[in-house]
Protein backbone atom coordinates (compact mmCIF):
# COMPACT_ATOMS: atom_id res chain seq x y z
CA UNK A 1 0.00 0.00 0.00
CA UNK A 2 1.39 3.36 -0.99
CA UNK A 3 2.43 5.61 1.89
CA UNK A 4 0.07 8.43 2.84
CA UNK A 5 2.58 10.97 1.52
CA UNK A 6 2.10 9.58 -2.00
CA UNK A 7 -1.61 10.45 -1.87
CA UNK A 8 -0.74 14.00 -0.88
CA UNK A 9 1.77 14.16 -3.72
CA UNK A 10 -0.79 12.97 -6.23
CA UNK A 11 -3.31 15.37 -4.76
CA UNK A 12 -0.75 18.07 -5.33
CA UNK A 13 -0.32 16.85 -8.91
CA UNK A 14 -4.04 17.05 -9.54
CA UNK A 15 -4.34 20.54 -8.06
CA UNK A 16 -1.29 21.67 -10.00
CA UNK A 17 -2.83 20.27 -13.16
CA UNK A 18 -6.18 21.90 -12.57
CA UNK A 19 -4.61 25.28 -11.80
CA UNK A 20 -2.29 25.05 -14.82
CA UNK A 21 -5.07 24.04 -17.17
CA UNK A 22 -5.81 27.53 -18.50
CA UNK A 23 -2.12 28.07 -19.23
CA UNK A 24 -1.99 24.71 -21.02
CA UNK A 25 -5.05 25.68 -23.02
CA UNK A 26 -3.51 28.99 -23.99
CA UNK A 27 -0.22 27.44 -25.06
CA UNK A 28 -1.84 24.53 -26.96
CA UNK A 29 -4.62 26.72 -28.38
CA UNK A 30 -2.77 27.95 -31.47
CA UNK A 31 -2.25 24.34 -32.59
CA UNK A 32 -5.42 22.72 -31.31
CA UNK A 33 -8.16 25.20 -32.24
CA UNK A 34 -7.48 25.69 -35.96
CA UNK A 35 -6.62 22.03 -36.51
CA UNK A 36 -9.82 20.96 -34.77
CA UNK A 37 -11.81 23.42 -36.88
CA UNK A 38 -10.15 22.26 -40.10
CA UNK A 39 -11.14 18.67 -39.39
CA UNK A 40 -14.63 17.35 -39.93
CA UNK A 41 -17.70 18.39 -38.01
CA UNK A 42 -19.54 16.45 -35.33
CA UNK A 43 -19.19 16.08 -31.59
CA UNK A 44 -18.12 12.45 -31.93
CA UNK A 45 -15.44 13.27 -34.41
CA UNK A 46 -14.33 16.21 -32.27
CA UNK A 47 -14.06 13.89 -29.27
CA UNK A 48 -11.95 11.43 -31.25
CA UNK A 49 -9.73 14.24 -32.47
CA UNK A 50 -9.30 15.65 -28.98
CA UNK A 51 -8.64 12.31 -27.32
CA UNK A 52 -6.05 11.43 -29.98
CA UNK A 53 -4.41 14.83 -29.57
CA UNK A 54 -4.36 14.62 -25.78
CA UNK A 55 -3.21 11.02 -25.77
CA UNK A 56 -0.29 11.82 -28.04
CA UNK A 57 0.47 14.92 -25.99
CA UNK A 58 0.58 12.74 -22.91
CA UNK A 59 3.04 10.41 -24.63
CA UNK A 60 5.20 13.39 -25.50
CA UNK A 61 5.17 14.51 -21.86
CA UNK A 62 5.99 11.03 -20.57
CA UNK A 63 8.73 10.44 -23.09
CA UNK A 64 10.53 13.61 -22.23
CA UNK A 65 10.00 13.13 -18.50
CA UNK A 66 11.29 9.56 -18.60
CA UNK A 67 14.33 10.46 -20.68
CA UNK A 68 15.13 13.46 -18.53
CA UNK A 69 14.71 11.52 -15.27
CA UNK A 70 16.73 8.60 -16.59
CA UNK A 71 19.55 10.87 -17.64
CA UNK A 72 19.49 12.33 -14.16
CA UNK A 73 19.25 15.73 -15.70
CA UNK A 74 15.76 16.24 -14.22
CA UNK A 75 13.88 18.56 -16.44
CA UNK A 76 16.25 21.48 -16.17
CA UNK A 77 18.70 20.70 -18.95
CA UNK A 78 21.53 23.12 -19.60
CA UNK A 79 20.27 26.05 -21.68
CA UNK A 80 22.11 25.34 -24.95
CA UNK A 81 20.99 21.73 -25.58
CA UNK A 82 17.53 22.60 -24.29
CA UNK A 83 17.28 25.46 -26.78
CA UNK A 84 18.41 23.11 -29.53
CA UNK A 85 15.77 20.53 -28.65
CA UNK A 86 13.09 23.21 -28.42
CA UNK A 87 14.18 24.59 -31.78
CA UNK A 88 13.94 21.21 -33.46
CA UNK A 89 10.52 20.58 -31.89
CA UNK A 90 9.22 23.96 -33.05
CA UNK A 91 10.48 23.41 -36.59
CA UNK A 92 8.93 19.93 -36.67
CA UNK A 93 5.67 21.31 -35.28
CA UNK A 94 5.62 23.97 -37.99
CA UNK A 95 6.23 21.36 -40.66
CA UNK A 96 3.51 19.08 -39.37
CA UNK A 97 1.04 21.97 -39.11
CA UNK A 98 1.68 22.96 -42.71
CA UNK A 99 1.52 19.40 -43.94
CA UNK A 100 -1.68 18.77 -41.99
CA UNK A 101 -3.25 21.95 -43.36
CA UNK A 102 -2.51 20.65 -46.84
CA UNK A 103 -3.65 17.08 -46.09
CA UNK A 104 -6.93 18.07 -44.50
CA UNK A 105 -7.70 20.27 -47.48
CA UNK A 106 -7.22 17.35 -49.85
CA UNK A 107 -8.92 14.81 -47.64
CA UNK A 108 -11.97 16.86 -46.77
CA UNK A 109 -12.92 18.38 -50.13
CA UNK A 110 -16.32 16.65 -50.00
CA UNK A 111 -16.49 15.23 -46.52
CA UNK A 112 -13.80 14.02 -44.25
CA UNK A 113 -14.94 10.43 -43.95
CA UNK A 114 -14.91 8.57 -40.68
CA UNK A 115 -11.16 8.33 -40.13
CA UNK A 116 -9.14 11.21 -38.72
CA UNK A 117 -7.05 12.84 -41.39
CA UNK A 118 -3.54 11.50 -41.72
CA UNK A 119 -0.64 13.62 -42.81
CA UNK A 120 1.38 12.26 -45.65
CA UNK A 121 -0.31 10.30 -48.41
CA UNK A 122 -4.05 10.69 -48.14
CA UNK A 123 -5.15 7.28 -49.31
CA UNK A 124 -2.31 5.23 -47.87
CA UNK A 125 -1.62 4.87 -44.19
CA UNK A 126 -0.02 7.95 -42.79
CA UNK A 127 0.61 9.37 -39.35
CA UNK A 128 -2.55 10.59 -37.72
CA UNK A 129 -2.54 14.39 -37.87
CA UNK A 130 -3.86 15.01 -34.36
CA UNK A 131 -1.45 12.43 -32.97
CA UNK A 132 1.56 14.09 -34.56
CA UNK A 133 0.42 17.54 -33.47
CA UNK A 134 -0.39 16.40 -29.94
CA UNK A 135 2.92 14.61 -29.55
CA UNK A 136 4.96 17.60 -30.67
CA UNK A 137 2.91 19.96 -28.52
CA UNK A 138 3.65 17.69 -25.57
CA UNK A 139 7.36 17.93 -26.29
CA UNK A 140 7.39 21.69 -26.53
CA UNK A 141 7.82 22.15 -22.77
CA UNK A 142 5.13 24.67 -21.98
CA UNK A 143 5.66 26.41 -18.61
CA UNK A 144 3.15 24.28 -16.63
CA UNK A 145 4.93 21.19 -17.89
CA UNK A 146 8.26 22.55 -16.69
CA UNK A 147 6.84 23.30 -13.24
CA UNK A 148 5.32 19.83 -12.99
CA UNK A 149 8.53 18.29 -14.26
CA UNK A 150 10.65 20.00 -11.62
CA UNK A 151 8.29 18.77 -8.91
CA UNK A 152 8.06 15.24 -10.34
CA UNK A 153 11.81 14.91 -10.56
CA UNK A 154 12.02 15.39 -6.79
CA UNK A 155 10.15 12.12 -6.24
CA UNK A 156 12.02 8.99 -5.26
CA UNK A 157 11.52 6.89 -8.36
CA UNK A 158 10.93 7.13 -12.07
CA UNK A 159 7.59 5.34 -11.69
CA UNK A 160 6.44 7.85 -9.08
CA UNK A 161 7.56 10.70 -11.34
CA UNK A 162 5.63 9.27 -14.26
CA UNK A 163 2.54 8.75 -12.14
CA UNK A 164 2.82 12.32 -10.89
CA UNK A 165 2.91 13.47 -14.50
CA UNK A 166 -0.07 11.32 -15.39
CA UNK A 167 -2.19 12.79 -12.61
CA UNK A 168 -1.00 16.30 -13.48
CA UNK A 169 -1.95 15.63 -17.08
CA UNK A 170 -5.45 14.52 -16.09
CA UNK A 171 -5.84 17.76 -14.17
CA UNK A 172 -4.89 19.88 -17.19
CA UNK A 173 -6.99 17.80 -19.60
CA UNK A 174 -10.22 18.63 -17.77
CA UNK A 175 -9.97 22.10 -19.26
CA UNK A 176 -9.83 20.71 -22.80
CA UNK A 177 -13.21 18.99 -22.62
CA UNK A 178 -15.22 22.05 -23.71
CA UNK A 179 -13.29 22.06 -26.99
CA UNK A 180 -15.37 19.10 -28.06
CA UNK A 181 -18.08 21.68 -28.71
CA UNK A 182 -16.03 22.96 -31.65
CA UNK A 183 -17.35 19.88 -33.38
CA UNK A 184 -20.75 21.58 -33.42
CA UNK A 185 -19.47 24.36 -35.70
CA UNK A 186 -20.75 23.77 -39.20
CA UNK A 187 -17.86 23.02 -41.51
CA UNK A 188 -18.50 25.32 -44.44
CA UNK A 189 -15.81 26.17 -46.98
CA UNK A 190 -15.34 29.42 -45.05
CA UNK A 191 -14.65 27.71 -41.72
CA UNK A 192 -12.23 25.12 -43.08
CA UNK A 193 -10.40 27.64 -45.26
CA UNK A 194 -10.03 30.05 -42.34
CA UNK A 195 -8.79 27.23 -40.11
CA UNK A 196 -6.27 26.02 -42.68
CA UNK A 197 -4.99 29.53 -43.36
CA UNK A 198 -4.66 30.15 -39.61
CA UNK A 199 -2.72 26.91 -39.25
CA UNK A 200 -0.35 28.01 -42.00
CA UNK A 201 0.20 31.39 -40.36
CA UNK A 202 0.82 29.85 -36.96
CA UNK A 203 3.13 27.31 -38.56
CA UNK A 204 5.20 30.12 -40.09
CA UNK A 205 5.44 31.75 -36.68
CA UNK A 206 6.60 28.53 -35.04
CA UNK A 207 9.06 27.99 -37.87
CA UNK A 208 10.54 31.42 -37.21
CA UNK A 209 10.75 30.73 -33.47
CA UNK A 210 12.32 27.33 -34.10
CA UNK A 211 14.92 28.67 -36.51
CA UNK A 212 15.78 31.46 -34.07
CA UNK A 213 16.27 28.87 -31.32
CA UNK A 214 18.48 26.76 -33.57
CA UNK A 215 20.60 29.88 -34.07
CA UNK A 216 20.85 30.28 -30.32
CA UNK A 217 18.23 33.02 -29.83
CA UNK A 218 15.30 32.34 -27.54
CA UNK A 219 12.80 34.96 -28.71
CA UNK A 220 10.32 34.20 -25.94
CA UNK A 221 12.56 32.71 -23.29
CA UNK A 222 13.42 33.51 -19.74
Amino acid sequence: MAPVTEYFTFGEALVLGLSSGPACLASCGPVLVPSLLADGAGVRRGSRYLSTFLGARFLGYLLFAAVAWELGARVSLPPAPRLLIMGVVHVLLAGVLLWYAYSVGRACTQSCGSELVAIGAVRKRGISGPAALGFLTGLSLCPPFVIAGVRAAELHSAVAALLFFAVFFVGTSVWFVPFISLGCVRRSQAVTTVARMAMALIALFYLFLGLAMLMGRNVYGR
Binding site: G29, P30, P34, V194, A198, A200, I202, R217
Partner: protein, 390 residues
Amino acid sequence: MAAEARILPHREIAPRSIGRSVLLTLPIVLWSLLIFSSSFRQPNRSAQIAGIMTAVFMIALFFMMMRTWSTYRWRRWFFVALGLLFPVGFIHTVMVMRGSMGIPMEEMIAGRTPFCFMPIPLLILPAALTRTVVFPGSILPGGGMSRSGIAAMMGVWLAITLVIGKGWCSYACFFGGIEEGVASLPKKAKLRKIDPRWRYGPWAVLLAMVLLSLALFEPAYCMWLCPFKAVSEYVAARNTVGLVQNGIFVALFAGLVVVLPWLTKKRTQCAFFCPFGAFQSIFNKTSVFDVKIDRTRCSPCVLCQNACPTMSLTAESIAQGETLMSCMKCGACVDACPKHAAVWHIKGTEVAVKPERARLMLLYAAWGMAVMFGGTIIAEGLAAILHVFV
Protein backbone atom coordinates in the same frame (compact mmCIF):
# COMPACT_ATOMS: atom_id res chain seq x y z
CA MET B 1 -13.87 39.01 -69.65
CA ALA B 2 -15.50 40.95 -66.84
CA ALA B 3 -16.35 44.53 -67.71
CA GLU B 4 -14.25 47.21 -66.06
CA ALA B 5 -16.22 49.06 -63.45
CA ARG B 6 -16.46 52.80 -63.57
CA ILE B 7 -16.91 54.16 -60.11
CA LEU B 8 -19.11 56.95 -61.31
CA PRO B 9 -22.84 57.20 -61.57
CA HIS B 10 -23.45 55.13 -64.62
CA ARG B 11 -27.00 56.16 -64.85
CA GLU B 12 -27.84 59.40 -66.54
CA ILE B 13 -29.50 61.45 -63.86
CA ALA B 14 -29.60 65.17 -63.67
CA PRO B 15 -27.73 66.51 -60.69
CA ARG B 16 -29.78 67.55 -57.72
CA SER B 17 -30.52 71.26 -57.68
CA ILE B 18 -28.01 73.46 -55.96
CA GLY B 19 -30.62 74.81 -53.58
CA ARG B 20 -31.70 71.39 -52.39
CA SER B 21 -28.11 70.23 -52.20
CA VAL B 22 -27.23 73.21 -50.00
CA LEU B 23 -30.24 72.55 -47.81
CA LEU B 24 -29.28 68.92 -47.33
CA THR B 25 -25.69 69.95 -46.60
CA LEU B 26 -26.69 72.46 -43.90
CA PRO B 27 -26.68 69.95 -41.01
CA ILE B 28 -23.12 68.99 -41.93
CA VAL B 29 -22.14 72.68 -42.12
CA LEU B 30 -23.45 73.20 -38.59
CA TRP B 31 -21.82 70.01 -37.39
CA SER B 32 -18.46 70.94 -38.90
CA LEU B 33 -18.59 74.41 -37.36
CA LEU B 34 -19.31 72.82 -34.01
CA ILE B 35 -16.55 70.22 -34.24
CA PHE B 36 -13.90 72.63 -35.53
CA SER B 37 -14.89 75.63 -33.44
CA SER B 38 -12.13 74.89 -30.97
CA SER B 39 -9.47 74.95 -33.68
CA PHE B 40 -10.82 78.26 -34.96
CA ARG B 41 -10.07 79.73 -31.53
CA GLN B 42 -6.55 78.30 -31.30
CA PRO B 43 -3.73 80.81 -30.95
CA ASN B 44 -1.68 78.66 -33.30
CA ARG B 45 -2.17 80.13 -36.78
CA SER B 46 -1.42 76.88 -38.61
CA ALA B 47 -3.99 74.99 -36.49
CA GLN B 48 -6.58 77.70 -37.24
CA ILE B 49 -6.02 77.55 -40.96
CA ALA B 50 -5.93 73.75 -40.93
CA GLY B 51 -9.24 73.65 -39.06
CA ILE B 52 -10.90 75.99 -41.54
CA MET B 53 -9.51 74.12 -44.54
CA THR B 54 -10.66 70.78 -43.19
CA ALA B 55 -14.14 72.03 -42.38
CA VAL B 56 -14.51 73.47 -45.88
CA PHE B 57 -13.15 70.25 -47.38
CA MET B 58 -15.61 68.03 -45.53
CA ILE B 59 -18.55 70.33 -46.26
CA ALA B 60 -17.62 70.52 -49.94
CA LEU B 61 -17.39 66.76 -50.27
CA PHE B 62 -20.76 66.25 -48.63
CA PHE B 63 -22.28 68.89 -50.89
CA MET B 64 -20.96 67.01 -53.92
CA MET B 65 -22.40 63.78 -52.56
CA MET B 66 -25.76 65.48 -52.43
CA ARG B 67 -25.46 67.22 -55.80
CA THR B 68 -24.26 64.22 -57.80
CA TRP B 69 -26.31 61.51 -56.01
CA SER B 70 -23.10 59.49 -55.66
CA THR B 71 -21.09 58.56 -52.59
CA TYR B 72 -17.99 56.57 -53.34
CA ARG B 73 -15.72 58.95 -55.21
CA TRP B 74 -16.31 61.85 -52.80
CA ARG B 75 -15.93 59.65 -49.75
CA ARG B 76 -12.69 58.38 -51.30
CA TRP B 77 -11.23 61.87 -51.39
CA PHE B 78 -11.79 62.17 -47.67
CA PHE B 79 -10.48 58.69 -46.97
CA VAL B 80 -7.31 59.12 -49.00
CA ALA B 81 -6.67 62.49 -47.33
CA LEU B 82 -7.08 60.78 -43.96
CA GLY B 83 -4.74 57.95 -44.93
CA LEU B 84 -2.06 60.37 -46.12
CA LEU B 85 -2.33 63.02 -43.42
CA PHE B 86 -2.57 60.73 -40.40
CA PRO B 87 1.01 59.48 -40.81
CA VAL B 88 2.15 63.07 -41.45
CA GLY B 89 0.64 64.35 -38.21
CA PHE B 90 1.54 61.27 -36.21
CA ILE B 91 5.14 61.00 -37.34
CA HIS B 92 5.58 64.76 -36.85
CA THR B 93 4.35 64.49 -33.27
CA VAL B 94 6.47 61.43 -32.59
CA MET B 95 9.60 63.10 -33.93
CA VAL B 96 8.96 66.23 -31.88
CA MET B 97 8.34 64.29 -28.67
CA ARG B 98 10.78 61.43 -29.04
CA GLY B 99 13.01 62.14 -31.99
CA SER B 100 12.36 58.68 -33.41
CA MET B 101 9.59 56.46 -34.78
CA GLY B 102 10.94 53.62 -32.67
CA ILE B 103 9.27 53.20 -29.29
CA PRO B 104 11.96 52.85 -26.64
CA MET B 105 11.38 50.71 -23.57
CA GLU B 106 11.20 53.84 -21.44
CA GLU B 107 8.06 54.95 -23.22
CA MET B 108 6.47 51.54 -22.86
CA ILE B 109 7.27 51.44 -19.14
CA ALA B 110 5.92 54.95 -18.71
CA GLY B 111 2.68 53.85 -20.40
CA ARG B 112 3.06 56.36 -23.20
CA THR B 113 2.59 54.09 -26.21
CA PRO B 114 -0.38 55.48 -28.14
CA PHE B 115 -3.21 53.00 -28.38
CA CYS B 116 -4.43 52.18 -31.86
CA PHE B 117 -7.76 50.42 -32.49
CA MET B 118 -6.13 47.47 -34.30
CA PRO B 119 -5.28 45.35 -31.22
CA ILE B 120 -8.76 45.66 -29.69
CA PRO B 121 -9.90 42.12 -30.63
CA LEU B 122 -6.59 40.64 -29.44
CA LEU B 123 -6.85 42.12 -25.97
CA ILE B 124 -10.29 40.76 -25.16
CA LEU B 125 -9.37 37.23 -24.05
CA PRO B 126 -6.37 38.17 -21.86
CA ALA B 127 -8.44 40.97 -20.30
CA ALA B 128 -11.39 38.68 -19.68
CA LEU B 129 -9.25 35.97 -18.10
CA THR B 130 -6.77 38.05 -16.08
CA ARG B 131 -8.19 41.61 -16.00
CA THR B 132 -4.97 42.72 -17.64
CA VAL B 133 -4.58 44.91 -20.70
CA VAL B 134 -1.55 43.49 -22.47
CA PHE B 135 -0.59 46.76 -24.09
CA PRO B 136 2.12 49.18 -22.89
CA GLY B 137 -0.16 52.18 -22.65
CA SER B 138 -2.23 53.94 -20.01
CA ILE B 139 -5.88 53.32 -19.27
CA LEU B 140 -6.39 57.04 -18.61
CA PRO B 141 -4.38 59.93 -20.08
CA GLY B 142 -0.74 59.15 -19.39
CA GLY B 143 0.98 62.07 -21.05
CA GLY B 144 3.29 62.05 -24.03
CA MET B 145 2.13 60.06 -27.02
CA SER B 146 -0.48 58.18 -25.00
CA ARG B 147 -2.80 61.13 -25.55
CA SER B 148 -6.17 60.41 -24.00
CA GLY B 149 -5.35 56.83 -23.10
CA ILE B 150 -6.70 53.38 -23.88
CA ALA B 151 -10.13 54.07 -22.38
CA ALA B 152 -10.63 57.05 -24.69
CA MET B 153 -9.82 55.08 -27.85
CA MET B 154 -12.10 52.28 -26.67
CA GLY B 155 -14.80 54.89 -26.12
CA VAL B 156 -14.35 56.34 -29.61
CA TRP B 157 -14.29 52.92 -31.21
CA LEU B 158 -17.40 51.70 -29.42
CA ALA B 159 -19.32 54.88 -30.11
CA ILE B 160 -18.48 54.97 -33.83
CA THR B 161 -19.04 51.23 -34.24
CA LEU B 162 -22.45 51.56 -32.61
CA VAL B 163 -23.35 54.18 -35.18
CA ILE B 164 -21.91 52.79 -38.43
CA GLY B 165 -20.76 49.20 -37.77
CA LYS B 166 -18.22 48.13 -40.35
CA GLY B 167 -18.59 51.54 -41.93
CA TRP B 168 -15.61 52.21 -39.66
CA CYS B 169 -13.50 50.80 -42.47
CA SER B 170 -14.81 53.44 -44.89
CA TYR B 171 -15.26 56.47 -42.66
CA ALA B 172 -12.93 56.18 -39.66
CA CYS B 173 -9.93 53.92 -40.22
CA PHE B 174 -6.92 56.18 -40.61
CA PHE B 175 -4.88 53.54 -42.46
CA GLY B 176 -7.19 52.27 -45.21
CA GLY B 177 -6.99 55.45 -47.26
CA ILE B 178 -3.41 54.75 -48.27
CA GLU B 179 -4.24 51.62 -50.21
CA GLU B 180 -7.50 53.07 -51.45
CA GLY B 181 -5.50 55.91 -52.92
CA VAL B 182 -2.95 53.58 -54.49
CA ALA B 183 -5.72 51.38 -55.90
CA SER B 184 -7.37 54.35 -57.58
CA LEU B 185 -4.25 55.39 -59.51
CA PRO B 186 -4.05 52.86 -62.36
CA LYS B 187 -6.73 52.96 -65.02
CA LYS B 188 -7.00 49.18 -65.24
CA ALA B 189 -6.23 46.30 -62.97
CA LYS B 190 -3.23 44.25 -64.11
CA LEU B 191 -4.16 41.32 -61.91
CA ARG B 192 -7.81 40.50 -62.33
CA LYS B 193 -8.16 36.89 -61.44
CA ILE B 194 -8.11 36.68 -57.65
CA ASP B 195 -8.97 33.43 -55.91
CA PRO B 196 -12.07 34.27 -53.86
CA ARG B 197 -10.79 32.17 -50.96
CA TRP B 198 -8.34 34.96 -50.14
CA ARG B 199 -11.37 36.78 -48.72
CA TYR B 200 -11.13 34.47 -45.73
CA GLY B 201 -7.64 35.79 -44.98
CA PRO B 202 -8.70 38.42 -42.43
CA TRP B 203 -10.60 35.80 -40.41
CA ALA B 204 -7.61 33.48 -40.48
CA VAL B 205 -5.30 36.27 -39.33
CA LEU B 206 -7.81 37.19 -36.62
CA LEU B 207 -8.05 33.58 -35.37
CA ALA B 208 -4.29 33.11 -35.41
CA MET B 209 -3.55 36.43 -33.73
CA VAL B 210 -6.19 35.97 -31.01
CA LEU B 211 -4.78 32.55 -30.15
CA LEU B 212 -1.15 33.69 -30.27
CA SER B 213 -1.92 36.83 -28.25
CA LEU B 214 -3.36 34.65 -25.50
CA ALA B 215 -0.45 32.21 -25.69
CA LEU B 216 2.25 34.89 -25.70
CA PHE B 217 0.37 37.43 -23.56
CA GLU B 218 1.09 40.29 -25.88
CA PRO B 219 -0.66 41.92 -28.86
CA ALA B 220 0.81 39.51 -31.42
CA TYR B 221 -0.42 41.45 -34.47
CA CYS B 222 1.26 44.67 -33.32
CA MET B 223 4.46 42.82 -32.51
CA TRP B 224 4.74 40.80 -35.73
CA LEU B 225 2.30 41.55 -38.53
CA CYS B 226 0.97 45.11 -38.69
CA PRO B 227 1.91 46.66 -42.05
CA PHE B 228 1.14 50.14 -40.78
CA LYS B 229 4.02 50.13 -38.36
CA ALA B 230 5.94 51.32 -41.40
CA VAL B 231 4.07 54.65 -41.32
CA SER B 232 3.51 55.14 -37.62
CA GLU B 233 5.72 53.65 -34.94
CA TYR B 234 7.16 50.33 -33.86
CA VAL B 235 9.15 48.82 -30.99
CA ALA B 236 12.68 50.12 -31.36
CA ALA B 237 14.90 47.31 -32.64
CA ARG B 238 17.45 46.34 -30.00
CA ASN B 239 18.64 43.15 -31.60
CA THR B 240 18.35 40.91 -34.68
CA VAL B 241 14.82 39.83 -33.77
CA GLY B 242 13.76 43.47 -33.67
CA LEU B 243 15.27 44.03 -37.09
CA VAL B 244 13.38 41.01 -38.43
CA GLN B 245 10.14 42.40 -36.98
CA ASN B 246 10.67 45.76 -38.63
CA GLY B 247 11.57 44.03 -41.89
CA ILE B 248 8.26 42.15 -41.79
CA PHE B 249 6.33 45.39 -41.26
CA VAL B 250 8.00 47.10 -44.20
CA ALA B 251 7.58 44.07 -46.47
CA LEU B 252 3.88 43.71 -45.62
CA PHE B 253 3.30 47.42 -46.16
CA ALA B 254 5.04 47.33 -49.52
CA GLY B 255 3.20 44.22 -50.62
CA LEU B 256 -0.29 44.61 -49.20
CA VAL B 257 -0.67 48.39 -49.17
CA VAL B 258 1.25 49.46 -52.26
CA VAL B 259 2.05 46.73 -54.77
CA LEU B 260 -1.08 44.57 -54.62
CA PRO B 261 -3.56 47.49 -54.57
CA TRP B 262 -1.72 48.88 -57.60
CA LEU B 263 -1.93 45.59 -59.44
CA THR B 264 -5.50 44.65 -58.49
CA LYS B 265 -7.23 48.00 -57.86
CA LYS B 266 -8.56 46.43 -54.66
CA ARG B 267 -8.01 47.28 -51.02
CA THR B 268 -5.96 44.15 -50.60
CA GLN B 269 -4.78 44.72 -47.02
CA CYS B 270 -8.36 45.30 -45.92
CA ALA B 271 -9.88 42.54 -48.02
CA PHE B 272 -7.33 39.78 -47.49
CA PHE B 273 -5.44 40.49 -44.28
CA CYS B 274 -6.77 42.96 -41.71
CA PRO B 275 -7.95 41.10 -38.59
CA PHE B 276 -9.63 44.20 -37.20
CA GLY B 277 -11.74 44.39 -40.33
CA ALA B 278 -12.86 40.81 -39.79
CA PHE B 279 -13.78 41.70 -36.21
CA GLN B 280 -15.72 44.76 -37.37
CA SER B 281 -17.65 42.57 -39.82
CA ILE B 282 -19.49 41.16 -36.82
CA PHE B 283 -20.99 44.59 -36.22
CA ASN B 284 -22.54 44.57 -39.67
CA LYS B 285 -25.07 42.23 -38.12
CA THR B 286 -26.03 44.93 -35.61
CA SER B 287 -25.90 47.90 -37.97
CA VAL B 288 -29.25 49.11 -39.25
CA PHE B 289 -27.84 50.16 -42.65
CA ASP B 290 -26.77 47.84 -45.42
CA VAL B 291 -26.59 47.52 -49.20
CA LYS B 292 -29.08 45.37 -51.08
CA ILE B 293 -29.43 44.21 -54.67
CA ASP B 294 -32.87 44.57 -56.18
CA ARG B 295 -33.09 41.33 -58.13
CA THR B 296 -35.96 42.61 -60.27
CA ARG B 297 -33.66 45.22 -61.75
CA CYS B 298 -30.33 43.36 -61.68
CA SER B 299 -29.03 42.22 -65.16
CA PRO B 300 -26.61 40.76 -63.77
CA CYS B 301 -23.73 42.64 -65.34
CA VAL B 302 -21.30 42.13 -62.40
CA LEU B 303 -20.20 45.76 -62.56
CA CYS B 304 -20.92 46.00 -58.85
CA GLN B 305 -18.82 42.92 -58.18
CA ASN B 306 -15.90 44.36 -60.11
CA ALA B 307 -16.27 47.75 -58.45
CA CYS B 308 -16.24 46.42 -54.90
CA PRO B 309 -12.78 47.12 -53.41
CA THR B 310 -13.05 44.25 -50.93
CA MET B 311 -14.74 41.54 -53.04
CA SER B 312 -17.83 41.68 -50.84
CA LEU B 313 -20.13 40.75 -53.70
CA THR B 314 -20.20 37.32 -55.30
CA ALA B 315 -22.47 35.75 -57.87
CA GLU B 316 -24.21 33.85 -55.07
CA SER B 317 -24.68 36.89 -52.86
CA ILE B 318 -25.97 38.96 -55.79
CA ALA B 319 -28.45 36.20 -56.57
CA GLN B 320 -29.62 36.42 -52.96
CA GLY B 321 -29.84 40.18 -53.22
CA GLU B 322 -27.25 41.07 -50.64
CA THR B 323 -23.61 41.75 -49.93
CA LEU B 324 -21.30 39.63 -47.83
CA MET B 325 -20.58 40.35 -44.18
CA SER B 326 -17.39 42.11 -45.18
CA CYS B 327 -19.22 45.03 -46.83
CA MET B 328 -17.71 48.32 -45.73
CA LYS B 329 -20.56 50.53 -46.93
CA CYS B 330 -18.21 52.49 -49.17
CA GLY B 331 -20.81 52.92 -51.92
CA ALA B 332 -18.69 51.71 -54.85
CA CYS B 333 -21.23 49.12 -55.96
CA VAL B 334 -24.19 51.47 -55.64
CA ASP B 335 -22.45 54.09 -57.76
CA ALA B 336 -21.30 51.57 -60.36
CA CYS B 337 -24.70 49.95 -60.95
CA PRO B 338 -26.29 51.19 -64.18
CA LYS B 339 -29.73 49.83 -63.33
CA HIS B 340 -30.21 51.26 -59.80
CA ALA B 341 -30.29 47.67 -58.61
CA ALA B 342 -27.59 48.06 -55.95
CA VAL B 343 -29.14 50.36 -53.39
CA TRP B 344 -28.68 51.66 -49.89
CA HIS B 345 -31.11 50.06 -47.51
CA ILE B 346 -32.42 50.28 -43.97
CA LYS B 347 -33.07 46.88 -42.39
CA GLY B 348 -36.73 46.10 -42.07
CA THR B 349 -37.76 48.34 -44.98
CA GLU B 350 -38.50 47.30 -48.53
CA VAL B 351 -35.58 47.06 -50.88
CA ALA B 352 -35.21 49.83 -53.46
CA VAL B 353 -38.12 51.83 -52.05
CA LYS B 354 -36.75 55.27 -51.19
CA PRO B 355 -33.07 54.23 -51.26
CA GLU B 356 -32.02 57.88 -51.24
CA ARG B 357 -33.63 58.26 -47.83
CA ALA B 358 -31.55 55.35 -46.57
CA ARG B 359 -28.42 56.87 -48.10
CA LEU B 360 -29.08 60.23 -46.49
CA MET B 361 -29.62 58.77 -43.06
CA LEU B 362 -26.48 56.65 -43.36
CA LEU B 363 -24.45 59.60 -44.61
CA TYR B 364 -25.58 61.94 -41.85
CA ALA B 365 -24.47 59.37 -39.31
CA ALA B 366 -21.30 58.28 -41.09
CA TRP B 367 -20.20 61.71 -42.25
CA GLY B 368 -20.84 63.07 -38.82
CA MET B 369 -18.40 60.52 -37.48
CA ALA B 370 -15.99 61.22 -40.31
CA VAL B 371 -15.94 64.93 -39.50
CA MET B 372 -15.56 64.32 -35.78
CA PHE B 373 -12.84 61.69 -35.91
CA GLY B 374 -11.19 61.65 -39.32
CA GLY B 375 -11.60 65.37 -39.84
CA THR B 376 -9.75 66.12 -36.62
CA ILE B 377 -6.90 63.89 -37.71
CA ILE B 378 -6.78 65.52 -41.15
CA ALA B 379 -6.62 68.96 -39.51
CA GLU B 380 -3.72 67.85 -37.32
CA GLY B 381 -1.80 66.55 -40.31
CA LEU B 382 -2.48 69.71 -42.25
CA ALA B 383 -1.38 71.83 -39.30
CA ALA B 384 1.92 69.95 -39.17
CA ILE B 385 2.55 70.82 -42.84
CA LEU B 386 1.34 74.40 -42.56
CA HIS B 387 3.52 74.93 -39.50
CA VAL B 388 6.51 74.88 -41.82
CA PHE B 389 5.16 77.83 -43.78
CA VAL B 390 3.05 79.77 -41.33
